[in-house]
Structures are given as structure tokens and as C-alpha cells.
Amino acid sequence: MSIQVKDIHKQFGSFVALDKVSLEFPTGELVALLGPSGCGKTTLLRIIAGLEQADSGQVLLEGEDASGTHVRERQVGFVFQHYALFRHMTVFDNVAFGMRMKPRAQRPSESQIRTKVHDLLQLVQLDWLADRFPAQLSGGQRQRIALARALAVEPRVLLLDEPFGALDAKVRKELRRWLRNLHDELHITSIFVTHDQEEALEVADRVVLMDHGKVEQIGTPEEVYRHPATPFVYSFLGSVNLFHGRIEDGTVQVGEDVLHDQPDAFRQGAEVIAFARPHELDIVVDGEVGKGVSARVNRVLSFGITARVELDGVNGSSGQHYEVELARSRVTELGLAEGQIVRLVPSRLKLFERQAASPQ
């Protein structure tokens, strides 16, 4: 089922949680709502579910306005961060709950319920836990049971609110892969909220990036990672180096250093923010070339396939920290020592004009 939200506005006191948000979620896709905490992603999810009311705007489920429809009738499956399993019921009863609550006329027989519950428990690979109570399960198991419970009522949409947020790193990774497989099997329109960019990029078909109640960018994981549309997206997705500069004579000046030939059209004297990913920076030892930003080597970490060099800005960019990812051979070649002054030369640089609202 497709979901559309139109001009959703929600305010808590003077805090604007959602600022005229319009989005479309096509049928059968797994979409991630990604953003820092307080960006409004959970509020949006709860409004779609009907657990919260928007101040203005519409939620369309399959083209129909659902604003007046109660949660009970929206047929959405909701999965909570802290599972919200009924602790006084066994796993079996938890999963059967939705079916047993149906009006008598629509309620399946007890044997049908039994079959269905066991099918679902097999789907989440926890059939052997049917008689346990939630308190006896691990976090990962509980969340899978919560998912089975949500699926039991055959929802038209699956909404997951930080489903892996309360789990430890290893289980989280496992469940991510598992959720992706499950979605490929069921093809149910799903939206999940997360603040973990890795999780969003790895699992979702499409990522919606949100900040301060606004949508910053929508796209496939590859699109948003490779071509961030705004400074926020750039700094939120993956680690990044940030330079504050000024356009002068067709170049970017950072302090007294020249960062880059300026290919984009920016007006003379404009204040800009420049972003470069750690692997998009190279280190040159002082004196070689007249370009690049000066920095002092702070630490060289070379335990992985690539080496990471941490640097501190000097010369008008002091207080800034930089991170550069280089091939191990390159680091050996350079022979970097702690405290050495070097220059950073970007191979690729993304520039944004600085506005009052920009971060940092």
C-alpha cells in the first residue's frame, strides 16, 4: 500500500517537530527515515500510524485520507523500540493477540490462530520459544517476536520505530540483514526510523534524511551518500572534513592557505563551507606544492587496510580537526611523524555557500 503525507505540521509547545513535511512512500518499498534525535522522524512515523495527531496536513493511505481513521482501523503494524511485548503473555499469546481481539464475526478459529502463529514464529525463526514469556528472551528475540506480532494482523504497512536501537552492535547487524531478507520475502510497504546512518544505508531501498522537522534529502542510499544535497546531509552521512573558507580570485581561501581551484560559480568574497571525505584528502609534506591547508599531524593509526591520520588545523584553521584516510604504502612513503606540519590537498571537494542557518 502506498503512503503519502501532505503538509504535515506538528508542534509541541513552541518546538516545531514537523514543519510542513510532504513525502511519498511507494508500495512495497523499505524506506528509512534518518536523522539525529529530535529531528521529528519518530513523530512523523507515529502520525502515519495514527498514534499521534498532526496539527495540520493529511496522511493518505492508498490515496485515501486517513486523518480521521483510528489506529485500530488503519491496519498498520507498529514495532516499538523497546518491543512493547505483553509481559504477562507467552510468546504464543503475544503473537495471537491481534487475531484474538478481532470482532467475533471476523475472528479466526483457535486452530487457525494456532497454525498462523506457528507460521509466523517460523518466519522469525523462533518457533521453539512459543511457550516462553518475554522476560526469558534476549533483546533480539523479543524484537523478532514483536515483529511477528505486528505481522499477525496482516497489516498493509509496517512501521518500525528505531527497531534495533536498544540492541547491542552485533545483534543489531544480524537483525538488519534479517529484516532486509524478510522484506524481500514479504514486500510489505515498510518505513523504519533510525538515527544510525549505517543501518539506513545498508537496509533501506530509499532513505529520507530529516533535520529540524524538515526533509533534507530523499534518495537511494547510493545517491544520498555520493551526492549529498545539503551541508547537513554531508556531515550526517559518514565522517567528513569541514573547511570554512572564502572565495577569492577563483580559489577557496582557508585562512592564509589556498585550498582548491574554484570550479563552481560562487561570487567573489562569498563565505563557503567545503566538505571532503577522509579518503578524498591527500597529505603532502610541506614545501612540495604551494597548495593545500596546513595541518599538524596528531596521530597515525595504521592497523586497518587503510591508515588513518588525525590532524589539527594550524594557520587560521586552528581548532579544527581533520581525518585523512590513506593507503598504508602512502603513509610509509610520507614517513609522517607526530607534530609534523603538512598540507592537505583534496581530490574532490563539495562547496556550499554559508548561510546563517548552516551548521557549525
Binding site: L51, V71, R72, F133
Partner: protein, 278 residues
């Protein structure tokens, strides 16, 4: 021995246990034992005669019956009160929260006189009941009113913390799965609150059975109609019939003990059933 010793940050198992046992003996066990010892002055036949006189039997029915009813009423309304106090915020909430404890603090005689004045035929509330032909004060109904009054805090105070811990997410989960309001309450909230409700019920009941001060003013103390068991004991004492008084006390004690045992058993069973003890 040293190998089995477990390390604790705060030592003092022996001294605390010793103190507990001594204290419990002095305050609870010895006085209770005295009740049985005093009663044993009577022969079994005499004992049976004392505790089964129709007038005394009528007081058992009244005391235990009305205490159960009062505890039941307090369970229902105590739950509602606790719910309102936990879930909503309204002006004067803290004052109402403090008022709940008033029946604990108020001298029971004061409560009794106040209730009698209110519910008497010409009282503020009693006059309306009188108009429809219902006699509240100086009858069994008056006893019930007093018992409800003194038992009120128990259920509120036992259920309140559990309700505060109860995540609204559980209700949201239930609704999103298609449960209506009644089903959400009946199948999700109530089972979680049940052990606490039973504890509150047991406490309110126990308090009501032993209540004397507030009841005695409003009851009217009509033999066979509105006399409570504690009054029988006092009456015997006033006649210097100590053995007779303790005989009735023994019956009260045993009945209360059995009922509390049943309620506690029920409570253990419900919490076990909900997987909390496992």
C-alpha cells in the same frame, strides 16, 4: 565455612536477623500467643459455646462480609483514583494525592463522628438518603461507609507505583493490533495490575476487619444487625470476661489469617502466571 561465605558490601546478617526475630517476638508473636493461652482457660465446650452464640455469629457475618465488600469497592474506586492521579495532570492534583492518605492520619474516632454527622438522618448527605428511604448511619450501610473510608488509601498506594511504571507503549501496541478500549484494559492493563490490586485488596480488607474506632459511632450497634466483632470483644472485656474475649479474638485471628493466606496465594499465582517470578 570460609569458602561458602559470600562477600557483602554491608555486613550484619546475624545482627539484623537476631534483631528482627526478637522484635517480632516481642511485638507480634508473644501477644498473639497470649491470646491463645488465655483462651485455653476455657474447655473446648465452653469455647464453642462462646464463639457460636447467635449474636456473635451475626457479628462475624457483618464484619467479614462488609470488610470484603468494602475492600472490593475500594479496589474498583482506588484503581480509578490511582489512574486519574498517574495518567492525567489537573489543577490540585497534588492536593488530591495528599488527601488520599488522610484516612491513615485521621484519628478513627474523628472519622467516625464526622461520617456519622454527615450520614445521619438530618446530616448533609444522610437527608437525601433518608428522602428515598435509605438509612445509612446507625445501620449496616453506615458500617460499610466507615470501612470504605478507612480502606481507601491501600489500593491507591499499592497500584500507583505499578501504574507509573506501566508503559503507554503497551496500550499503543494493543490498539495498533486492533484491540478496542475495553479489550486493551481487560487483556493488557488489568493482568499487569492484578497482583498489586490483590495486595491492595488484602490490606484494605485486613484493615477493615480490625477497625473499631470509626465504625463504633456510625454503626448504631444494634444486636444481630449492626454489631461488629471487635465490639463483641470489647463488650466481653468490659464484663471482665477475658477468656471469652480472647476466644472471639482467636476466631477472628484464624479467619483473617485464612483469608489473607488465600489472597496471598491468589496473588502469588497471578504473578507466576504472568511470568514475573520465573
Amino acid at each position: 565455612m570460609a569458602a561458602t561465605k559470600t562477600f557483602r558490601v554491608l555486613p550484619g546478617f546475624k545482627i539484623t536477623l537476631g534483631f528482627t526475630l526478637t522484635y517480632l517476638s516481642l511485638i507480634v508473636l508473644i501477644p498473639l500467643a497470649a491470646v491463645f493461652i488465655k483462651t485455653s482457660e476455657l474447655s473446648l465446650g465452653q469455647f464453642w459455646d462462646v464463639v457460636t452464640t447467635p449474636r456473635v455469629v451475626a457479628t462475624y457475618k457483618l464484619s467479614f462480609g462488609l470488610s470484603l465488600v468494602a475492600a472490593a469497592i475500594n479496589t474498583v474506586f482506588g484503581l480509578m483514583l490511582a489512574w486519574a492521579l498517574v495518567r492525567y495532570s489537573f489543577p490540585g492534583k497534588r492536593i488530591i494525592d495528599a488527601l488520599v492518605d488522610l484516612p491513615f492520619a485521621l484519628p478513627t474516632a474523628v472519622a467516625g463522628i464526622a461520617l456519622t454527622a454527615l450520614y445521619a438522618k438530618n446530616g448533609w448527605i444522610g437527608q437525601y438518603f433518608d428522602a428515598i428511604g435509605v438509612k445509612v448511619a446507625f445501620g449496616p450501610l453506615g458500617v460499610l461507609v466507615a470501612l470504605v473510608f478507612i480502606g481507601l488509601p491501600f489500593v491507591v498506594r499499592t497500584v500507583q507505583p505499578i501504574l507509573e511504571d506501566l508503559d503507554t507503549e503497551l496500550e499503543e501496541a494493543a490498539v495498533s493490533l486492533g484491540a478496542d478500549r475495553w479489550q486493551t484494559f481487560r487483556f493488557v492493563i488489568l493482568p499487569i495490575l492484578l497482583p498489586a490490586l490483590l495486595t491492595g485488596f488484602a490490606l484494605a480488607f485486613a484493615r477493615a476487619v480490625g477497625e473499631y474506632g470509626s465504625v463504633i459511632f456510625i454503626a448504631g450497634n444494634i444486636p444481630m444487625v449492626s454489631e461488629i466483632t471487635p465490639l463483641m470483644i470489647i463488650t466481653k472485656l468490659e464484663q471482665y470476661d477475658y477468656a471469652g474475649a480472647t476466644a472471639i479474638a482467636v476466631v477472628m485471628l484464624l479467619l483473617s489469617f485464612v483469608l489473607l493466606l488465600v489472597i496471598n496465594g491468589l496473588q502469588a499465582w497471578t504473578s507466576k502466571r504472568t511470568g514475573r517470578d520465573r
